[in-house]
């Protein structure tokens, strides 16, 4: 197991270098001179252009710029935001808890709804319960996050007045955004669990367990669901990425602090160090989450061998 983990971590090195190159080149690859982009619509004198060029460090050879960027990034120094003059990492860490909280609650929400819906649909295979559950799943997949978010706000905040529509804080401010964000994931998981369960329920060992006279509850939870969940675990890991993406929209609509909004605002404000920092941070986080998922997947399924 340890060897597997070490091996996976070593494999990360080229990936991380690749990510750092891409985020570094971002500034140079996008169309347009970064200096002109930074200056926007203001008239630009030669000396002002030179000043900005120097400020951004663009007057040095590109490989020196990269080395400077990468070596600083490796030490956790992502530079300073152009407007705020604060260390980029500090800005990210300040809003990170909001995003983590939202993503994990959405994931929990999605898993609870998704798994129970899937199990119920599989057990009630072919009945109206199954049809209704799957119709809900299709609705969940096809409804854009911003739309379901706005509907929820309209109903629960503005019409019924049960929940606050904006901000971060207690559970009451987390329920709607987590549910809205989790909905898509829940739908995907419900379909996955349903088909997994249907497959497993036809297996001989389930029939045997039933024949032994085990309580149906035990058969379903211990024997069937445990095996049907294996693909779901992988799925959950992969969806974490999708959730991070959806969090940008959810954060904006529910006015929650978060990395997604920080990144979007940085892009709109042409704050390049902040853009590079948030992209690099998100990419590294994504890679790390995938590593954790792979390792835990291997730990759950004994058929996966390390090495």
């Amino acid at each position: 197991m340890l060897r597997y983990i070490v091996q996976r971590v070593v494999q990360l090195v080229p990936i991380l270098i690749g990510i750092s190159v891409v985020t570094f080149l971002m500034l140079h690859l996008i169309p347009g001179d970064p200096v002109l982009l930074f200056a926007g619509d203001k008239p630009l004198t030669e000396e002002r252009a030179a000043e900005i060029r120097h400020q951004l460090g663009l007057d040095r050879p590109i490989w020196i710029q990269y080395w400077d960027y990468a070596s600083h990034a490796a030490r956790g120094d992502l530079g300073r935001g152009l407007r705020s003059q604060r260390p980029v990492l500090e800005s990210i860490l300040e809003v990170l808890p909001g995003t983590v909280q939202l993503t994990l609650s959405a994931l929990a929400c999605a898993t609870v709804i998704g798994v129970s819906l899937g199990v119920v649909a599989a057990l009630a295979h072919g009945t109206w319960v199954d049809t209704t559950a799957m119709a809900f799943a299709i609705l969940g997949v096809s409804m854009p996050v911003f739309y379901s978010s706005l509907l929820m706000i309209l109903l629960f905040s503005f019409t019924l007045g049960w929940l606050p529509a904006t901000g971060q804080g207690g559970v009451e401010r987390l329920v709607m955004p987590a549910a809205a964000l989790g909905l898509i994931s829940a739908a995907v998981q419900a379909r996955l669990v349903r088909s997994g369960m249907l497959g497993v329920l036809r297996q001989d060992y389930v029939t045997t367990a039933r024949a032994k006279g085990l309580a149906p509850r035990i058969v379903i939870l211990r024997h069937a669901l445990k095996n049907a969940l294996i693909p779901t675990i992988t799925m959950v890991g992969l969806q974490l990425g999708a959730l991070l993406g959806g969090a940008v929209v959810t954060e904006t609509i529910f006015s929650r602090p978060g990395v997604g909004r920080l990144a979007v605002d940085a892009i709109l404000g042409r704050d390049f160090p902040l853009v590079q920092g948030t992209v690099l941070f998100a990419a590294v986080a994504y890679v790390m989450v995938n590593l954790v998922v792979d390792v835990s997947y291997a730990a759950v399924d004994p058929r996966i061998r390390f090495g």
């Binding site: 996008i30 169309p31 347009g32 001179d33 002109l36 982009l37 926007g40 619509d41 203001k42 008239p43 630009l44 000043e51 400020q55 300073r80 935001g81 152009l82 407007r83 705020s84 003059q85 604060r86 800005s91 300040e94 809003v95 909001g98 706005l150 706000i153 309209l154 905040s157 503005f158 007045g161 606050p164 529509a165 904006t166 901000g167 971060q168 954060e251 904006t252 609509i253 529910f254 006015s255 929650r256 602090p257 978060g258 909004r261 920080l262 605002d265 940085a266 709109l268 404000g269 704050d271 902040l274």
Partner: protein, 548 residues
């Protein structure tokens, strides 16, 4: 985030004699306040205190008025860092930190007589040094100033004559300075800036205002608390002494429909930039007040590139476009008819707006067709006109935002009816900037809310061909008129010059005005005493009371 500039500015604008007298009266009142001293302070009635929650757009990572590029940030800092003068309605100036001022006729020097006994929140006394410090830091490269840099114009230096008199000197005449003071040039505490450094000051701004900074939770809210020592309010305001409100919370709610909804649910009591779609239902409900106000500056216009190698360089084509665009239809389709159809590059509340421009063109497709016909553009395949094998195609790159797209498509439909093929290309911002810098376009959008008609220099002076002058219009005579108008404080002369300039650019058909823009704010009816400034952008909260 705001494309185009949203400058808060205006020059010595239309001050008729009556208004001038009223302003003079205000100065006398201010002097009286100082003389009367504490007597008037004792009259201050407690306003009930409480917390006002304002829903607004996000900030750009700084609360430093000299660094920010966002009007939404200034809405916060204006209560912390006060200006030298306030501008309640276009062209009318009332004392702020300056009790009175003199402007040289050539608009090159501005002398300010400062209020005495004023203290910054950190205890530093307010003197001429603070004014000099604030202005100098705008041009210092290490400040990395944003809008304030543009707004200080051709700044040369500030002379501190004595503790309470300063002279701001310009390199050349610059009439819009007074308006520009009301916002990005708010006075900051030199002690605080030096002690904290740039980054720290941007998180904890210190000024002389009626409210002091308390906390800022990024992407969530900024809280200000009442300054208990405040007793130097402008004579313009309704009361003296400390502000009524205990606290103001500026809540960041990026989504417009949610922002408006929070007003109904009571999470906020005031919202900026409401969704115009909510306008009708809010207006009917007596629990709310919708505040709509026309802005000064330049509204949504099309600038037609005269240096293009395409058909648009032909005056006849440009004139046909002037007649061919259905502005009323555009206003209905895109803005639900809430804005006002425009005929001048200046919006109506701007000083120098010439109403005669409204008669230069009209929506007249028949006339447009006739002009094109006479210029040799004959109807060809698919109804698109041609001349000597050249198709009448006009390139219109835009940034792919929904509103820009909707406007562009509306213009496209109008022009198609007269046989012009307007090619609308939505681009990513960086690609768009490239196209513009490389002069590969025929038409461009422009919108520039600004308090002074000097905005016309930004859009039509040949020095700005690589910036906001997207028509790439270079007429020495117009340049001269623009320079003369900026270098005089004589209102009659200024108005006459701006009138000529508006008529000239319309006759040269380099600018197609579409609509004037309005700002929409809304509040709960119990919120009283708020004042929207001359730019229809900043809300003054000093007099605000929440009356149950």
């Amino acid at each position: 985030m705001q494309d185009g500039g949203r400058h808060g500015v205006s020059g010595p604008a239309r001050v008729g004699r009556r208004e001038f007298l009223r302003t003079a009266g205000a100065w006398a009142g201010a002097a009286g306040l100082v003389a009367g001293g504490m007597g008037r302070l004792a009259e201050a009635a407690p306003g009930g205190g409480g917390t006002l929650v304002i829903g607004g757009f996000d900030f750009d990572g700084t609360l430093d008025p000299q660094v920010t590029d966002f009007d939404s940030t200034i809405r916060v800092t204006l209560s912390i860092c006060e200006p030298l003068v306030w501008e309640p309605t276009p062209g009318r100036f009332v004392p702020g930190l300056a009790e009175s001022w003199e402007v040289a006729p050539d608009a090159k020097t501005y002398t300010f007589h400062l209020r005495k006994g004023v203290k910054f929140h950190d205890g530093t006394p307010f003197t001429g040094d603070a004014v000099k410090f604030t202005m100098d830091r705008v041009v210092a490269p290490e400040t990395k100033a944003g809008q304030s840099h543009d707004q200080l114009g051709p700044y040369d230096h500030t002379e501190v004559i004595d503790d309470h008199t300063v002279k701001i000197v310009m390199k050349e005449g610059y009439a819009p300075l007074l308006t520009n003071l009301n916002g990005y040039l708010g006075i900051v505490s030199p002690t605080a800036v030096k002690k904290m450094g740039l980054a720290e000051f941007a998180r904890h701004p210190v000024g002389t205002g009626p409210f002091m900074f308390k906390e800022w939770v990024d992407k969530d809210h900024v809280t200000l608390v009442r300054n208990p020592d405040y007793n130097w309010g402008s004579s313009f305001f309704k009361h003296r002494g400390a502000a009524y409100l205990d606290q103001i919370v500026f809540k960041i709610i990026p989504e417009a429909s949610v922002r408006t909804g929070t007003l109904k649910s009571g999470e906020t009591q005031y919202v900026n930039d409401m969704d115009p779609l909510d306008y009708a239902s809010m207006k009917k409900d007596p629990k709310f007040v919708v505040i709509e106000r026309a802005q000064p500056g330049s509204g949504w216009v099309l600038l037609l590139n005269v240096t293009s190698k395409g058909a648009i360089s032909d005056l006849a084509v440009r004139r046909a476009i002037e007649y061919g665009v259905d502005r009323e239809g555009l206003n209905k389709a895109v803005f639900h008819g809430l804005n006002k159809v425009a005929w001048s590059p200046l919006m109506r509340p701007t000083f120098g707006y010439d109403a005669a421009t409204e008669k230069i063109y009209s929506f007249d497709p028949a006339k447009a067709k006739q002009i094109l016909e006479e210029a040799g553009w004959k109807v060809g395949a698919g109804g698109i006109r041609e001349k000597a094998g050249q198709k009448l195609v006009v390139d219109f790159p835009i940034i792919g935002r929904p509103r820009d797209k909707a406007m562009a498509e509306s213009v496209q439909a109008s022009l198609r009816d007269v046989g012009i093929d307007l090619k609308v290309t939505p681009l990513e911002r960086a690609a768009f900037v490239d196209v513009r810098r490389q002069n590969r376009y025929d038409v461009n959008f422009m919108w520039f809310s600004y308090g002074d008609p000097d905005v016309l220099r930004t859009i039509f002076h040949s020095a700005n061909v690589n910036a906001f002058n997207r028509a790439r219009y270079q007429v020495p005579e117009v340049d001269r008129m623009l320079e003369q108008a900026a270098a005089t404080t004589n209102k009659v002369r200024r108005a006459a010059l701006y009138s000529q300039i508006q008529q000239r650019v319309l006759r040269d058909a380099v600018c197609v005005p579409l609509v004037d823009s309005l700002t929409y704010n809304a509040k709960r009816a119990e919120v009283q005493g708020d004042v929207l400034d001359a730019l229809a952008s900043y809300v003054w909260l000093y007099d605000v009371q929440i009356k149950k």
